[in-house]
Amino acid sequence: MHEASLAGGVLQLVDDCAQREGFARVLELRLEVGQLAGVDVAALRFALDCIAPGTRLEDARIELVETPGQAWCLGCNSRVPIAQRGDPCPACSSYLLEPTGGMELRVLDLQVSDD
């Protein structure tokens, strides 16, 4: 499952940040996961829970912010919400959709402790 690789990526980001900012552990971590990012939120949470023990993420409160999917519809020339790829435009039912939002996969911010 690639969510395990992604969890590793999150931990790497946290450790790199700790090197720069000098903190000991993470109290809270906020991640942004777009609806169209191709990531299963539950699997990512599970993967993070699995790798956390013994790391700066141990016992951290992890918040996964899901951002809605968005696309530009060439059929009706408007920006529309879409929950997943392959859905038709909710306004005009066209499939000529170009995703424009909800594809993010990033660490937003952390609350850290120096001890």
Partner: protein
């Protein structure tokens, strides 16, 4: 960098750009409380709190790890990051991409389920390319959890191949491809690049030799008077998996999704991320169409739902049907299409499907506009 708002503090004594706090970064009560805390005799900054000068008693909040004092947040603090989780991979993918471009390498990322016929298609492609373009170097990077079977099959055709075993991993990533490409260069310098790549040659082209950037350890600022390297083809056969590789940029020019007719026509909708990420879908094993229930038109329709601009080719790697079209597509990407009498004039990423969709929409809008004009011209 200030941990509250990210502003940078270049001088320790300058007040940061925070609202509602005068020169002192903390309230007087807090300063007193911290000054009252016994500091160590030497002037080394403690982990938290200010550095206290033992001679003068001066308090320096700019020293130490936190570099600023934020009232009420000495133990816990907020750090704004906004970093892409795939940032590290994407940085290396960008390096790979620049490296390939600088060396005339057309890199294609072949993705599919296990058993779609990627390796058989590659072997047939290598042989066909050798007949049509004997001077074109072709190399392959193979990805599988275990075994070197695929790399061995490729090597048997005479093309160089490097096998990456991912172990428990389910996809190739950019660092793996960078490492494999470096191995290709080390083992088959002539074939992988189509021209000798000794250091004398590199120096003649004005490359600098900083280690660590890209597989060859040199940067890619364009050297004046330097001709582009002769074109070569690099196929990256990803781990058989229609889910995970979609997220991992390897630095390729395009992803090519291979779907065989024994897999069912609904796969593009079931695995939308992969087909959305691919520029070309190759329907393979079309020789088996008489024996399976596979609706080609519906498959293409579903693929276009998740990716309106996706191109489609139908081939049979085993009989050779449709292979000419695939070679034509490759030649087009390599820029070899001058002998086909085409007068294409389009930029990268163009596809007929997108153009058709846009033309249809323009026609629709023109019709509406004509109607509106009529209405305005003849009121009442």
């Amino acid at each position: 960098m200030c941990v509250v708002c990210g502003c940078s503090q270049t001088q320790r004594n300058r007040a940061p750009a925070h609202p509602s706090r005068p020169q002192g970064q903390a309230s007087p009560e807090r300063l007193l409380a911290q000054a009252a805390t016994p500091a160590s005799d030497d002037a080394a900054a403690p982990e938290t709190g200010p550095r206290i000068d033992p001679r003068s008693g001066d308090l320096d909040y700019g020293a130490g790890a936190a570099r600023v004092s934020v009232p009420g947040l000495s133990q816990a603090r907020a750090i704004k990051l906004e970093h892409d989780i795939l940032g590290a991979n994407d940085r290396i993918a960008a390096q790979n991409r620049a490296h390939f471009a600088a060396h005339g390498v057309l890199a294609l990322n072949l993705v599919s389920s296990p058993g779609s016929g990627k390796t058989t298609l590659l072997c047939a492609t290598i042989e066909a390319l050798r007949r049509r373009h004997p001077a074109l170097p072709v190399a392959v990077i193979e990805g599988d959890q275990q075994t070197a079977f695929d790399a061995e099959r490729i090597r048997a055709t005479g093309a160089p191949a490097i096998q990456i075993n991912t172990g428990k991993g389910c996809h190739l990533d950019a660092p793996m491809v960078a490492a494999a490409f470096a191995q290709l260069h080390r083992h088959e310098p002539e074939q992988a690049h189509g021209h000798s790549h000794s250091h004398e040659h590199e120096q003649a082209h004005g490359h600098s030799h900083e280690q660590g950037s890209g597989a060859h350890g040199h940067d890619h600022a364009p050297a004046p008077g330097h001709d582009h390297a002769a074109p070569s083809l690099l196929f990256i056969e990803n781990v058989g998996n229609l889910v995970c590789p979609a997220l991992w940029d390897l630095g390729e020019r395009a992803k090519v999704a291979i779907l065989s007719v024994t897999e069912g026509e609904d796969k593009p909708l079931k695995y939308p991320d992969m087909f959305a990420a691919a520029r070309l879908m190759i329907l393979n094993k079309i020789d088996l169409l008489p024996h399976v229930q596979f609706d080609v038109a519906r498959c293409i329709e579903l693929a276009r739902r998740v990716n309106p601009g996706i191109e489609v080719l139908q081939v049979s790697a085993s009989t050779g049907a449709g292979l000419d079209d695939w070679l034509h597509w490759l030649e087009h990407e390599l820029g070899h299409d001058h002998d086909h009498g085409h007068s294409h004039d389009h930029g990268a990423g163009h596809s007929h499907a997108t153009e058709q969709a846009l033309r249809a929409r323009v026609a629709q809008l023109e019709a509406e506009l004509a109607q509106l004009r009529q209405t305005v011209a003849a009121p009442g």
